[in-house]
């Protein structure tokens, strides 16, 4: 249940066995069924979720009712609506299980208590957040300046396992292209790879 999280923490910081044991009590183990919502837009996001198993997406819905995928989260990733979680404001995102999912949920009070009692976790989250900011900045630039094909290749790099697991329509939505364009690009990329 906690192996993947602990592995993830160990990859970023040095943590003792006693600390590993201690951190378990802060996480709520939880399962969601495929298509179940972890968060409904407009609600307050109560959890910062670490994905142990399965695939999750966060997305927004525009005025016309069109969905826009913001993020995918598979095993070893964290997912949340950070603004809503930290500021306790209405969530902008919907978060949905694309597959049956197992997560470890952190509430804000539990997270704060953990950070107080286990400074090593503060270091872990700092490193995690740094990486997140870098990824986000690259994503913003990518959105403006990369071609559809380059965006696709970048996605393959960041989420190598995911590209075949997520419904193609959602992958297209994440890339901001139509499913037809995505299928054309996939063909091109596959041909180049041959």
């Amino acid at each position: 249940m906690y192996e993947l999280l602990i592995e993830n923490i160990r990859s970023k910081v040095a943590i003792s066995e006693a600390e590993e044991e201690q951190l378990k009590k802060y996480f709520i183990p939880k399962k969601y069924r495929k298509r179940q919502y972890l968060l409904n837009g407009g609600d307050i996001c109560k959890y910062f979720s670490f994905v142990v198993d399965g695939l999750i997406r966060s997305f927004t819905v525009d005025d016309k009712g069109h969905e826009h995928v913001v993020q995918f989260a598979a095993e070893g990733w964290w997912v949340s609506d950070m603004g809503s979680f930290l500021e306790e404001t209405e969530a902008m995102y919907h978060i949905e299980a694309i597959e049956d999912v197992e997560v470890l949920n952190l509430t804000k009070p539990a997270m704060e208590e953990m950070l107080n009692e286990l400074p090593v976790m503060e270091r872990y989250f700092r490193i995690l957040m740094q990486k997140n900011i870098v990824t986000l900045q690259q994503r913003v630039v990518a959105d403006h300046s990369l071609t559809a094909e380059e965006k696709y290749l970048r996605l393959m790099e960041i989420y190598p396992k995911l590209i075949h697991r997520a419904p193609q329509q959602q992958v297209a939505s994440y890339l901001g292209i139509t499913p037809e364009t995505l299928s054309r690009i996939r063909k091109q990329v596959a041909e180049k790879g041959d």
Partner: protein
């Protein structure tokens, strides 16, 4: 599809399990996970629950750990005697969750408790589940009361005890949702009184033949 709470009812085939899940199903506010060792009766219960409200989702799970893992709130609708084994099974996956103790730890002759006076079923469960939030609720209402939350023209009171405020409020909302008047009685220690209240109610019910349809009501101005 919303972020409605998922509730596991462990012992769903029993009198209380059936009564509680029926009442919760009628609200349409919750996803329900029915768990019992004897699963034969559960498909029938599931289909009747699903007819109460179009929003109500019901799943049958034959393992207490799996059901508790998927749940936000866990209700142990089982005899007190079963709780030690159950707690062992669900301890890890119940971390950070509300666990509702409905048990009255009656002895076999219904004239006393198997617990000592310096504790309660709820406090014993809390010791077994140190990383969960145990809340006492539904122990002062008979199973039949759930279908008759108003008796003799008065809405039955339903007492709640626990040590954590947000969890108490969540359970109070749930109790109100099924039609009882929720009264937060105090911290988890107050469970001793609440359990004794129901011992008295059972004894009086047998003596005066209340027919298991009776409840507590505080009259006040």
């Amino acid at each position: 599809m919303t972020t409605s709470k998922t509730i596991a009812i462990i012992g769903a085939s029993g009198s209380m399990g059936t009564a509680i899940s029926s009442s919760l199903a009628k609200t349409g506010n919750y996803s329900l996970l029915l768990m019992s060792d004897q699963t034969e009766s559960l498909p029938e219960l599931k289909s009747s629950l699903e007819q109460y409200h179009s929003n109500t989702q019901v799943h049958i799970i034959d393992c207490a750990k799996e059901a508790s893992w998927e749940a936000d709130i866990i209700i142990l609708a089982t005899p007190f005697q079963a709780e030690k084994d159950l707690a062992e099974k669900i301890r890890e996956v119940a971390t950070g969750k509300i666990v509702i103790s409905i048990a009255n730890p009656l002895n076999s002759t219904f004239d006393g408790f198997v617990t000592t006076p310096d504790t309660s079923a709820a406090e014993e469960l809390q010791k077994l589940l140190p990383n969960s939030t145990v809340i006492k609720a539904f122990n002062t209402t008979f199973a039949a009361d759930f279908a008759h939350t108003v008796i003799d023209g008065k809405q039955v009171d339903s007492f709640i005890a626990g040590d954590q405020e947000t969890a108490l409020n969540t359970v109070a909302e749930l109790v109100a949702g099924v039609g009882f008047n929720p009264i937060i009685a105090g911290d988890l220690k107050v469970s001793r009184t609440l359990e004794n209240m129901q011992l008295l109610m059972i004894q009086l019910g047998m003596k005066y033949n209340y027919n298991w349809l009776a409840g507590w009501k505080i009259l006040h101005n």
